[in-house]
């Protein structure tokens, strides 16, 4: 064991035990001090250039005209909303099996961010849908599962804050996150099945990724990086918040114990 964080008193340190030290609040503080400035620089570079490409440099689409510019906020936020839910599900699995406290803090920190991205994807999607399909909302499988994802995010973040003990909330929320992650494909499939049964009115979905031009790919990529850096900054800050909350709770607990 050459790892510097392995304590000397543990002679037979299992891999899981040494991994534990890489996920402690102390280690996190060292990492976050380095990650946040990098993410901030990335955000400050990619956001202005992404906006410039989205509004000035990229041409209007030959089919959709100017409305294609909604895509540059809609698609990256939808990607991030899904990716963050996947990350939360993985972190929840770690919380339940290995009981690493930072995994629980990550899930707690990421779910409000994911909820915001899902809300943005829903709002911009319906505003994009009106000029392209003629309606703000259809009960299509993709839209319905996105709405359900939003509810899962709300329930998950409410769960993490719903208990006096933070650890209890995080464990309950991690069970919910895993059940939700298994449930989302079933929901998507069931809504699709329901629609084939009822044959909805013919709304043709214009698939933005079918033949995408490089002039559209550049702002899409830049905005994705910008939103990813934003998510990194806010999640890191919220993880700090979760660590502080835990500390605050144990302080309060000690105080009430000393008093009695």
């Amino acid at each position: 064991m050459t790892m510097p964080h392995t304590p000397a008193r543990k002679k037979t340190a299992s891999p899981a035990a040494s991994l534990w030290h890489w996920f402690t609040p102390t280690y996190f503080r060292a990492v976050s001090g380095r990650v946040t400035p990098i993410a901030l620089v990335l955000l400050l570079v990619t956001l202005p250039t992404g906006l410039a490409y989205a509004f000035f440099l990229s041409p209007p689409d030959y089919l959709q005209g100017e409305t294609v510019r909604i895509m540059y906020i809609h698609v990256p936020s939808a990607w991030l909303a899904l990716a963050l839910y996947g990350a939360i599900a993985v972190a929840s699995g770690i919380t339940l099996t290995l009981k690493l406290p930072m995994a629980g803090h990550f899930a707690t920190a990421a779910s409000p961010v994911g909820a915001c991205f899902t809300a943005i994807a829903l709002i911009s999607g319906s505003l994009w849908g009106k000029p392209t399909w003629g309606t703000y909302w259809v009960w299509d499988a993709r839209l319905t599962s996105m709405l359900v994802l939003f509810f899962f995010y709300l329930a998950h973040s409410a769960m993490t804050q719903a208990f006096k003990q933070q650890e209890r909330g995080q464990q309950a929320a991690s069970i919910l996150a895993i059940v939700g992650a298994l449930n989302l494909p079933i929901i998507k499939w069931s809504v699709e099945w329901w629609h084939t049964l009822h044959q909805p009115e013919s709304i043709s979905f214009i698939n933005p990724s079918s033949h995408i031009d490089i002039s559209m790919l550049i702002p899409l990529g830049l905005m994705t990086v910008a939103l990813f850096s934003y998510a990194t900054i806010v999640i890191t800050a919220r993880m700090k918040l979760a660590i502080l909350q835990q500390k605050w709770q144990s302080l309060l607990y000690q105080k009430t114990r000393n008093r009695s």
């Binding site: 409410a158 769960m159 719903a162 208990f163 464990q171 309950a172 449930n183 099945w193 329901w194």
Partner: protein
């Protein structure tokens, strides 16, 4: 183990019956089902066509009620922690709670739902077996989801809104397949495919129950263990 299971069921049944909770859940469901047609102009709409939505919403809302007393009250007064100290594993206790919740709330509701479907919404008589099976499987699923959400929120500061926020998306596949497999019209010559569609939906609903029963009970046990250890 079986001894504890049966003792817990007997005790919970006695508690529920003494509290008159049986009739309160049932009357809640009947109220939902009967109020809908009163709020809708009966002449303008085909009531049978929207009856699956009404029945499933009623079943969904009523399925959230029984476990409040069965789990939450037992958790608050500490008897759940005492039951967990018996020889029986926590899985058995969770299953017993599930069984009592279904027996006392959903079993009477199946007959209430069928009766109201026949009387209020004019379901065809020959579809009674299909609809009974559908509601049976669907109520088993809804109670299962209610068990998980109740176990997760034991001792929480969040109110009832949290429970509905969680169970609504989880119940969505059940509602979809359940609504599709209720047969509300007599099949005419024009749409004979309705029969196969409802049967497919019923099979899918049953598969959903078979696939989720053990994992959901296990997740509920995990949540229950977590709740008791943090009491």
């Amino acid at each position: 183990m079986l001894c504890v299971f049966l003792a817990l069921i007997r005790r919970d049944m006695a508690v529920v019956l003494r509290n008159g909770q049986l009739s309160s859940t049932l009357s809640f469901f009947i109220m939902v089902v009967v109020f809908f047609p009163l709020a809708i102009d009966p002449a303008s709409l085909d009531l049978a066509a929207i009856s699956p939505a009404i029945i499933w919403i009623g079943l969904f809302l009523a399925a959230q009620l029984p476990l409040e007393r069965l789990l939450h009250d037992d958790y608050q007064d500490g008897s759940l922690a005492l039951w967990s100290l018996t020889r029986a594993p926590l899985e058995v206790i969770a299953t017993a709670k599930y069984a009592v919740a279904w027996l006392t709330a959903s079993l009477p509701m199946i007959f209430a739902a069928l009766a109201s479907g026949m009387l209020v919404y004019q379901w065809p008589m020959d579809a009674i077996l299909n609809n009974m099976l559908t509601i049976l499987v669907g109520s088993l699923l809804l109670t299962l989801i209610s068990l998980l959400t109740r176990c997760l929120t034991l001792g929480s500061r969040g109110g009832k809104g949290l429970i509905y926020l969680m169970s609504m998306p989880l119940s969505l596949p059940t509602l979809i397949f359940g609504a599709a497999s209720l047969r509300t019209h007599t099949p005419t010559d024009l749409n004979t495919s309705i029969d196969t569609e409802t049967t497919t939906a019923l099979i899918l609903l049953s598969l959903l129950l078979l696939a989720t029963l053990i994992p959901m009970l296990w997740a509920s046990t995990l949540a229950l263990r977590n709740a008791i250890s943090h009491q």
